[in-house]
Symmetry: C2
Subunit: 120 residues, 2 copies
């Protein structure tokens, strides 16, 4: 049984918007991502998505409700079907919980779309 | 949509071995727990369980393999069916991720068994 040290795991990669797989359990994935700048607007039709910020400040923008600003140690669940756009004015490190196989850009195809995530 | 601040949430209760519900998504629960001392040996037959330590040092003991020591910022998935016992020599704060409805003491009934968790 192998533990994951978040500092070591985040230190093992530099790419933005390219989540790494930290763990899988019960059909769900724990992903680690470095974010910088504006992501694409998208939604996940069949998946709720949890963001937990471990470093920096992440703004999650919504079309139809108020944006939410997450500082270090804050989490938010974005329900399925809700269009959103993560924006990081400076680099953010975040942990995501969502069903395994959830694509980062949801229903939006983009050059930022990532599949086959590397394991940390 | 309501964010959860982990410091505020942990500050809102004192009881040990009495997890609070921080969020639910995709049939899974994010729970916050304060741990101190030895918990009961137990296993979850149908649920993998993730521990992420946010403060302190948690030792997860196993019957048939080496114990794992988790410091702040470290996570471990205990697979379903694996008997384990969390032990905190001093107070630990931890985030758990597991299917909604998973009981803290698994297959072991104990005075520490908790159901109907309060929301933070």
């Amino acid at each position: 049984m192998e533990k994951v040290n978040l500092d070591d795991a985040f230190g093992s990669f530099d790419e933005h918007w390219s989540p790494r797989l930290a763990a899988e359990l019960n059909g769900q994935a724990v992903k680690l991502a470095k974010l910088d700048g504006e992501f694409v607007w998208h939604q996940h039709d069949d998946a709720d998505e949890l963001f937990l910020v471990t470093s920096g400040q992440l703004r999650i923008e919504f079309r139809e409700e108020e944006n939410v600003v997450l500082d270090e140690g804050e989490l938010l669940v974005v329900p399925r079907g809700v269009e959103h756009r993560p924006v990081a004015d400076e680099e953010v490190e975040a942990l995501l919980f969502e069903p395994s196989g959830t694509t980062n850009t949801g229903d939006t195809e983009s050059e930022l779309t990532k599949t086959d995530l590397e394991r940390v």
